[in-house]
C-alpha cells in the first residue's frame, strides 16, 4: 500500500512538472546518433509525403541541415497542430519545425528559436459560389478548420463564422468538397499551395485579404538553452545565405515578403 502511494505521488509529481528537462538534449542526440524532428506531413510544400511515403518538403530540408551540422542521422516524426507541443515536452521529438505560429502562451510551454524563420497570414479557401470581399460577410457561415490552429478562436470571436474543425488538413478539405462548409480557414501559404493543384483551382478561390500575420517559430523543449543557441545561429546563417528563399523556390512557393526581408537584413552581417 505504502509503495503504491509512493508510486502514485511520484506519478503526480511527474505530471505536475512537465517539460522540466533534466539532461542536455544535445548530448542525448549525439549519444543516440539520431536527431528526432517533428514535422508536418499534411502541409504541402512545407512538409508532406511523396508517393513512396517518405516525408519531404521545406521543413524536412531544414531538419536535414540541422542533422548534417550535428553529424547525426535524421529521423522525422509526423506531428499535427494539436500534439506537437506535447511531443516536444515529453521528449518524443528533440526539435519541432512544424509551421507553428509564434504566440505568447506557446512561449510558456516550449522554447522558441529566435530569429523566427518564417511568417504567414490567415486566409480562407472559399467555393467560387461565395462572393465576399470582407471578412465580416462571413458572419454565421460554416467554415471548416483544423483543430489546433490558434486563430480559430480569434476569427470566430472577431468575425463570427461557425468553425467546424477536424484533425489535420485532409479531412477539412474533404468536408469542404462535400459541402459540409463553404470554406476552409487556414494558413495563407497552404491555401496558395492548394490553389496550384488542378483539384482546387477551378471551383475555389481566395478572395479575402490575409489577416493576423504571424511569424512561425521552431521550438525546442524548455530549458534546452544550448540547443536553442545552436538553432538560433543556424537560423541566422540561413537568413544570411538566403537558404530559406532558395528552399521556397525549390518547392514552388513564391518567396514571402518576410523571408525576402530577412535575407536582405542579414545578407551583409
Amino acid at each position: 500500500m505504502r509503495r503504491s502511494i509512493l508510486a502514485f505521488s511520484m506519478l503526480a509529481a511527474a505530471a505536475a512538472l512537465p517539460g522540466a528537462a533534466a539532461a542536455d538534449v544535445l548530448d542525448k542526440i549525439k549519444e543516440r546518433g539520431t536527431l528526432v524532428v517533428g514535422v508536418k506531413t499534411d502541409y504541402r510544400p512545407f512538409g508532406f509525403r511523396d508517393p513512396s511515403g517518405a516525408i519531404i518538403g521545406i521543413e524536412p530540408d531544414m531538419a536535414a541541415e540541422v542533422a548534417k551540422k550535428l553529424g547525426v542521422k535524421l529521423e522525422l516524426v509526423s506531428v499535427v497542430s494539436a500534439n506537437r507541443m506535447e511531443f516536444l515536452r515529453q521528449g518524443k521529438i528533440d526539435l519541432m519545425i512544424a509551421t507553428m505560429s509564434d504566440k505568447p502562451e506557446r512561449r510558456k510551454v516550449v522554447q522558441v528559436i529566435e530569429p523566427l524563420y518564417y511568417s504567414d497570414a490567415v486566409n480562407v479557401l472559399l467555393s467560387d459560389k461565395v462572393k465576399v470581399t470582407k471578412w465580416e460577410q462571413l458572419k454565421g457561415a460554416k467554415l471548416c478548420g483544423t483543430t489546433g490552429a490558434f486563430y480559430n478562436k480569434d476569427v470566430a470571436t472577431q468575425y463570427g463564422p461557425e468553425i467546424i474543425s477536424f484533425d489535420g488538413s485532409e479531412k477539412p478539405l474533404i468536408a469542404l468538397k462535400q459541402g459540409n462548409c463553404i470554406g476552409y480557414l487556414y494558413d495563407q501559404t497552404f491555401i496558395a499551395g492548394k490553389m496550384l493543384e488542378d483539384d482546387w483551382k477551378t471551383a475555389y478561390h481566395m478572395p479575402l485579404p490575409g489577416i493576423m500575420e504571424t511569424p512561425w517559430a521552431m521550438a525546442v523543449a524548455p530549458g534546452e538553452d544550448r540547443f536553442a543557441k545552436l538553432m538560433s545561429d543556424m537560423t541566422k546563417d540561413w537568413m544570411k545565405s538566403g537558404a530559406i528563399v532558395a528552399m521556397e523556390k525549390k518547392w514552388g512557393v513564391k518567396p514571402t515578403e518576410y523571408s525576402e526581408r530577412m535575407f536582405k537584413e542579414h545578407k551583409g552581417s
Partner: protein, 248 residues
C-alpha cells in the same frame, strides 16, 4: 461571480494551472454547450440503441430465414468494426452519396449534419451489441414460461411483449448497463467528425490555451461524473424492476 472568475485568473498567474473554461467567457460558453451536446448525444443514442436491440432480438427469433440472416449480418458488420471507422465511413463515405440541398450560398449541402451522423452510427454500433444482450436475456427465459403464455392464448408477438421481454430485460440488465456505460464513453469519438461535444471542445481549448494537463484532468473527471450518473440511474432501474421469487 466576478470574484470567483478572478480567483481562477489568480490561480493561473500564481500556479500555472490554467482553467480558461472558468474565467474566459468564450471558453466557458463552449464547454457548457459541449457538456449538453454530450448529454444529448448520450440520451438519444441510448434510447435508439435500446429500440434497435429490442427490435433486432425480436427479428432474430423470426421464422423467416432471410430476416434472421439480415439481423446476423447487421450484428457482424457493426460489432466487428471499430466505431471510429464506422463514424468516418458514415460521414465521409456514405455522406457523399446522399442527396443534397442548396444552402443560401448556392452550395449543395449534405442533408444530414455531423451530429445526425454521429447519432446514427453510435446507435447502430451500440444497438448491435444490444441485440445480442437482449437475445441472451430472451434465451434465459424458461421455455415452460413461454409455453404457459401461449397456452393462455398469447400470439408470438403478444407473448414476446407481455411475458418474454419483461423477464428478459430483467435478466440482461447488468450486461445492458455495461453496454450503455460503454456507449457514453464512445460518444467522444464523435469529435472526429466535428460534433462539438466535450472532447472536441476540450481539444479546441487546449490548442488555444496550451493547457493540456488541465483539460485532460477536467475531461477525466467530467466523464467520471457523467458515467457515475448513468450507473446510479441504472442501479435504480435495476432495483425498481426486481422480480422477487425467481432470483432476479
Amino acid at each position: 461571480m466576478e470574484a470567483f472568475y478572478e480567483w481562477f485568473r489568480w490561480l493561473y498567474e500564481a500556479t500555472g494551472i490554467n482553467l480558461t473554461i472558468v474565467y474566459d467567457e468564450f471558453d466557458r460558453k463552449r464547454m457548457i454547450s459541449g457538456f449538453w451536446t454530450t448529454v444529448w448525444l448520450c440520451l438519444v443514442c441510448i434510447a435508439l440503441s435500446i429500440v434497435i436491440g429490442v427490435v433486432g432480438a425480436w427479428l432474430q427469433g423470426s421464422r423467416l430465414k432471410w430476416t434472421r440472416r439480415g439481423v446476423q449480418g447487421f450484428i457482424a458488420l457493426f460489432r466487428d468494426t471499430p466505431p471510429l471507422v464506422q463514424i468516418y465511413f458514415f460521414y465521409f463515405g456514405l455522406g457523399a452519396l446522399l442527396p443534397r440541398i442548396e444552402n443560401a450560398y448556392g452550395i449543395p449541402e449534405p442533408v444530414l449534419t455531423s451530429m445526425q451522423w454521429a447519432i446514427i452510427s453510435l446507435s447502430l454500433f451500440a444497438g448491435a451489441f444490444n441485440v445480442e444482450i437482449f437475445r441472451s436475456g430472451i434465451e434465459a427465459v424458461p421455455k415452460a414460461t413461454v409455453e404457459a403464455a401461449e397456452a393462455l392464448g398469447y400470439s408470438r408477438l403478444g407473448a414476446y411483449v407481455h411475458v418474454v421481454l419483461p423477464l428478459a430485460v430483467r435478466i440482461c440488465l447488468p450486461a445492458l448497463n455495461n453496454n450503455i456505460v460503454n456507449l457514453v464513453k464512445t460518444t467522444t469519438l464523435a469529435y472526429a467528425i466535428a460534433v462539438p461535444e466535450m472532447l472536441y471542445v476540450s481539444k479546441q481549448i487546449w490548442s488555444d490555451a496550451t493547457n493540456v494537463p488541465e483539460m485532460m484532468t477536467f475531461l477525466l473527471l467530467a466523464y467520471f461524473f457523467l458515467v457515475g450518473c448513468v450507473v446510479w440511474a441504472m442501479a435504480r432501474v435495476e432495483r425498481a424492476l426486481k422480480v422477487p421469487g425467481i432470483g432476479l
